[in-house]
Symmetry: C2
Subunit: 332 residues, 2 copies
């Protein structure tokens, strides 16, 4: 099992990437990691870890780096030797079984679509994000790749989410819900009203419409929505969590009891790093996107998720099951 | 100034309504309130408040009540003598200058559309909701009345929000933002890309696209979105705030410092009751909808907001300004 890791992705690259890779290697004896990025920086960083299992670590040089503000499409076209493009090409050519990056989400998506290509039966690859809830995290997709969605796209997202939750999250029969503004049939906008009918006939474990207030309860495993709503919810969630915790910290400080309160539990529940990256689902390969501020733990978890996706043969499952789902008799 | 108040709207009706009305009357000497609902219950409740200014309180009997689970359209058609329909008719006939209800949002909306009617130049009346932020609350509209919106509808929401924020919230030049998934021009779904252009030419104080993560910062006064996204965000926000506060309370309890932490400040910031109701904007009248769990304070504040909307002549401003905005040369 070899995973190509974009070592220039995080804001503090390459230190979190190298530390995360070493964490993953010590957890998984069958794993090898290909660090893709500026070779001198990577060699220098590796020298900081004298006990590293260098027999399972390869460095592949990439001369360029995609920066946060760049246009993803332009970056992919112009920077052919970026750590993102080089890493995805390694995966495409079979040198690596998966690709993980904490770089620009848009650039990873653009390069994946361009180099790996969508699978047959998938009109629109989607980004899945794990949202913290009161119980287990829920996989929400699409988190921003597709802003205008037809009912059949939402149906495809449901299939993609189902397969990822089953294969990479190891859930036996993932509960799939459709984000909507009411629970009853007939509620919603044009796309969700029709998507609900398609989902009810899909053969998936469809639990029905789910309202904004129900997400946090954690009663489902996969939440389907268009990328406009998904992206808005995701960004709003992060900011609200930060805001409320900041409000509370101020209050606790004012009451002079700082030492006696342990906020770690709260932060842990809200900590995306625990969950390990967002998969780009529906392309011909395993591509996992991490937050730009990922600590080593997040990189390590993302490598673990990528390995599970590869071992479970997720891509061929998607290819097979989506071909069936998109056949004329499958509706939509 | 006479306001008709649906006295059968809250879950604990009519006690919060009566207490809220008395609070508003003591704050505003020029106000009269018409309590609409079951006369015997209202007389009994008023008897609990011996010092009430009865010369400014009228009771109008309504034999029926719309319940939470009912279909709004059916309830309005079948229950002609509900407290909602009777109250709105009082407003329509000029017996009252405004209407306030904590009853079924759908029924208030349906009855307002049916009895008051939309103003000329308004294709789709919208519900505005005040969301708590790190600074002042932001008026988000539409909060759920219209799920599939064209760019011109979003433009109308912006005008409606601008006028309400100016007239009822007393902001001189309300900053209007468009909810979107990126700040740059060209970002978004079909409706928001075109709406951004219309808003830039609208003459409003348009501050551009606003992402999910920026809402909480409180850098704007009016946030425009379609009702699907707005309703989802609103319900999600309420549930996330409750969830995080519950997490924290558990943590504080575990650390045995319950008595020393004052969460009131946090709750106050997140307390919708402070802000006083959601206006239904674009109908020929002033209709304010409160949460079904509204305490007296929320009813009192909603009556205050309604009074400001009436005194500022908001409805004729909407009528005049929307007619200009929807004229052919106004675009859209």
């Amino acid at each position: 099992m070899r995973i190509a890791l974009d070592a220039m992705g995080t804001d503090d690259a390459p230190a979190p990437e190298v530390a995360g890779a070493l964490g993953a290697l010590s957890h998984d004896p069958d794993l090898s990691v290909i660090l893709v990025g500026d070779e001198p920086s990577l060699k220098a960083e590796l020298a900081q870890h004298p006990g590293a299992p260098i027999e399972r670590l390869t460095v592949v040089h990439a001369t360029e780096r995609v920066h946060a503000g760049e246009s993803p499409a332009l970056a992919v076209r112009r920077k052919r030797d970026s750590s993102i493009s080089v890493g995805i090409k390694l995966h495409k050519q079979g040198e690596a079984d998966a690709f993980v990056s904490a770089g620009s989400t848009g650039a990873v998506m653009a390069a994946s679509l361009f180099i790996l290509r969508p699978l047959p039966g998938v009109d629109r690859p989607a980004i899945g994000i794990l949202l913290p809830t009161a119980r287990e995290p829920v996989l929400m997709l699409d988190a921003g790749a597709n802003v205008d969605c037809k009912p059949r796209h939402l149906l495809q997202f449901a299939h993609l989410g189902h397969i990822y939750a089953r294969d990479a999250m190891e859930l036996e029969s993932p509960r799939v819900g459709l984000l909507n503004i009411g629970e009853e049939e007939g509620k919603g906008n044009e796309a969700t009203v029709e998507a609900r009918t398609l989902l009810a006939e899909s053969g998936l474990n469809f639990v029905g419409n789910v309202e904004g207030r129900d997400i946090i309860k954690g009663d489902l495993d996969v939440l389907v929505c268009d990328g406009f709503v998904g992206n808005t919810l995701l960004k709003f969630y992060e900011s609200v969590a930060e805001f409320i915790v900041a409000l509370l910290q101020r209050e606790i400080r004012l009451s002079h009891t700082t030492e006696q309160i342990d906020l770690r539990e709260v932060f842990q529940v809200l900590d995306y790093a625990e969950y390990g990256g967002a998969p780009l689902l529906g392309v011909d390969g395993v591509a996992i996107i991490c937050h730009g501020e990922s600590p080593p733990k997040a990189i390590q978890n993302a490598l673990g998720v990528a390995a599970r996706a590869v071992r479970s043969d997720m891509v061929s499952h998607i290819s097979r099951e989506l071909a069936v789902a998109s056949a004329p008799s499958g509706g939509g």
